[in-house]
Each structure stands twice: as structure tokens, then as C-alpha cells.
């Protein structure tokens, strides 16, 4: 008879939960997130390992905010350094966040996407308006992370401390319009496994999964808001990342 460690039991239970929660909705489009580049914190636009032209899209960033450990706002902006936009703050930040309005997009019957809506392209098979959000935790603030103005969709840790080792479970809560929301799609490792079958948040808006990386973790949440009038847009896509780093061993 073999014995199973408590950690393995937790992992097995979580895996069983994933199987039940996983959905097979198509996931398209790109996200924004923060990651370290040459000692600076950079804003990334892309999907998976595709680190695309974020500088060229800086005009679509509608807000950049930073907060210190006491959740006091810190003057924060983005600065283009060559091909990379980096976070420029007046003081150290514990949490930095950004919002991007990516505008109207239509998918045509031939599969091509155009920056327009159904008014211009009545034959479009999909017409949407995209909003992208990014929150990066450099260190957990002293209190709970509140809703950040302008972030209509936001992923928030449900605990005051992040796990320190990959494989340990993390509990996140998805808020849409400031309320915990069920049915939000979650990709647990957007950089290394972007085609992952998304999980979905439960009735209380929470999702639990093992942290994937002993390094940068980028979790993406996706929520499609149905407009009252669908003549122009089929939906508004809200796409929010929460990124954080688990530390490596001391050098």
C-alpha cells in the first residue's frame, strides 16, 4: 500500500476541480501585463512568448497608477525606452496598474480582423470593443488590495500573503464592476501556456489553482459583457492580468 502526501492530495483535489470547471471557450486577442526588463518594470503587450510592440500602442493606454505599501498613490507613468515602455515612478511602488482601451474590432467572414465595428462592416461575424487591464504586485500591500479606479475587471488575491513556492495553491477573486463575478475565464499561465483551456470562477468569484512558476506568473481573466443593444457590438471584451513573481533561491 502506498501513502499519499497531503500536498499530493491537495494537488489531486485541485486537478479534479479544474476538470469540472474547465470550459472550452475560444480565447483570442492579446493582453497587457508587467514584467521585469533590464532591472526596470516594463509593460508588455502580447500573448505567450510574443512580446509585441507596446511602445507603438502606448497611445491606447488610458491610465497608469501606482501605490505604495500603505496603498497611498505614487505618481507613476510609462516612459518609452527604445522599444520598451517602462514604469516610471517617483518612489517605490508595491502595486502598479494600467488600463488600455483597445477600441473596436470586427472579425470578417474570411477570418480577418479590422479595427472597426459593425456599423462600418455589417457583414462582420464578430463585432467587439476591447478593454485590457494589468495589475502587477511587486510586494503585497499592508491591507487588502482594493478595486483600482478604471479597472472594470480585476483579479485580486483572496489572501493577504502570496504563496512562495510554485505548486502551492493560490486563491484569486475576479471582480467585474466591483462585484465578485462567476463565470470569468481564467488562464493560469498566460506567458508559458496561453492556449490553456480556461478555468472559470465559481459562484463567489473565486478560483483556486497551483501557482505555475517559480518566477513570473501572469494570470489572465476574460469576461465578455453583453451590451443591451447588440446592433453595433456583440460584446465588450474585458481582459485583465494579475502578475507577480515568486522569488528564486538566494544567490
Amino acid at each position: 500500500m502506498t501513502q499519499t502526501s497531503p500536498a499530493l492530495k491537495v494537488t489531486a483535489a485541485l486537478a479534479a476541480g479544474f476538470a469540472l470547471l474547465a470550459v472550452s471557450l475560444p480565447v483570442e486577442a492579446h493582453s497587457i501585463w508587467f514584467a521585469q526588463r533590464a532591472r526596470q518594470l516594463a509593460l508588455i503587450y502580447g500573448v505567450g512568448a510574443d512580446d509585441l510592440d507596446a511602445v507603438g500602442r502606448m497611445d491606447k493606454i488610458t491610465s497608469v497608477t501606482g501605490f505604495d505599501e500603505n496603498w497611498q498613490p505614487v505618481e507613476t507613468s510609462l516612459r518609452a525606452t527604445g522599444v520598451i515602455p517602462v514604469v516610471d515612478s517617483e518612489e517605490p511602488v508595491s502595486v502598479v496598474a494600467a488600463v488600455m482601451d483597445y477600441g473596436d474590432w470586427v472579425k470578417m467572414p474570411d477570418g480577418e480582423w479590422h479595427s472597426a465595428n459593425r456599423k462600418q462592416f455589417p457583414d462582420a461575424v464578430i463585432s467587439e470593443h476591447n478593454y485590457k487591464y494589468a495589475v502587477h504586485i511587486k510586494e503585497m500591500p499592508k491591507g487588502a488590495i482594493p478595486m483600482i479606479p478604471g479597472h472594470k475587471l480585476q483579479l485580486v488575491p483572496a489572501t493577504s500573503v502570496l504563496p512562495q513556492s510554485m505548486g502551492n495553491p493560490i486563491v484569486l477573486k475576479a471582480y467585474y464592476d466591483g462585484k465578485p463575478t462567476a463565470g470569468v475565464q481564467i488562464i493560469t499561465d498566460y506567458v508559458n501556456d496561453p492556449d490553456q483551456l480556461p478555468l472559470v470562477t465559481g459562484a463567489d468569484g473565486t478560483i483556486t489553482f497551483p501557482v505555475r512558476n517559480q518566477g513570473l506568473n501572469v494570470v489572465t481573466a476574460i469576461y465578455l459583457e453583453k451590451p443591451k443593444d447588440t446592433s453595433v457590438y456583440d460584446h465588450f471584451e474585458h481582459r485583465a492580468t494579475l502578475s507577480f513573481v515568486l522569488p528564486h533561491k538566494p544567490e
Binding site: R39, Q40, T81, D88, S89, E91, P250
Partner: protein
């Protein structure tokens, strides 16, 4: 065939040996102060009777203070915040214009002139 298996197992065992942690410079203060590592830059804060001295090094090598615009951001225990320029005096040394009081939070902000890259190091005054 068995030789191949042994060779493969040996190679596997070698790759399973934990990697040696490599140090990138000493974390010991060189001037009797306290140190903070920020990225690859080590910032040492030395408290003098009327001022602070700040030394910057990278992988044990002094970095010219003149390459940076330095600012000292002090938050007093009561919450009042002040900013003052750090003066690059010689080599890798900066000097502040005053000495913050006990319990103050001190942030050393360094902006590399060439790249505009920022480095922060936070300390609490004893």
C-alpha cells in the same frame, strides 16, 4: 545497451544535482553602514552625525556617483515627506544635505543619466 542505460542514468543524476548559487558581489557593507540590494546595484547607507553618506556598487565594483541624479525622499514618522538632492561628491559616494530623524523612512532614488533607469533603495532610520 546496458552501458547506454548507465550512461543515460549518470547524465540524469548529474542534471539533478542542485545548481550552485552564484553570488554577484559581497553583501557586506564597506563603510560600516547598512546595505540594500536593488536589482544588481548595492546601496550602502552610512549615518553620520549631520548627514547621510550613500555608496553604490555593482558586483563589488564602485559605480561613479556622477553617472546618477540622486534624490533622498524622507518620510518622517508623522507622515511629512521631503525630497532633497543627493550630492555626488567623489567616486561612488553621495552625501545628503541633512540627517533624517529616528524612525524616518528613507528612500534613495537614483536615476542613471544615460538610460534614465531608476533604482530605489528603502531604509528606516534607527
Amino acid at each position: 545497451m546496458n552501458h547506454l542505460k548507465v550512461l543515460a542514468l549518470s547524465a540524469g543524476a548529474l542534471t539533478l544535482v542542485p545548481g550552485l548559487a552564484l553570488a554577484h558581489g559581497s553583501m557586506r557593507p564597506s563603510h560600516g553602514g547598512v546595505v540594500q540590494m536593488s536589482g544588481e546595484i548595492m546601496v550602502e547607507l552610512v549615518t553620520k552625525p549631520k548627514a547621510l553618506e550613500i555608496y553604490v556598487t555593482e558586483e563589488d565594483e564602485p559605480i561613479p556617483a556622477a553617472d546618477f541624479d540622486g534624490t533622498l525622499i524622507v518620510t518622517a514618522p508623522g507622515g511629512a515627506k521631503t525630497r532633497s538632492a543627493l550630492k555626488a561628491v567623489s567616486g561612488n559616494k553621495f552625501v545628503s544635505s541633512g540627517r533624517p530623524g529616528s524612525g524616518s523612512k528613507v528612500v534613495v532614488s537614483l536615476i542613471e543619466k544615460k538610460s534614465s533607469a531608476k533604482t530605489f533603495a528603502s531604509f528606516t532610520m534607527k
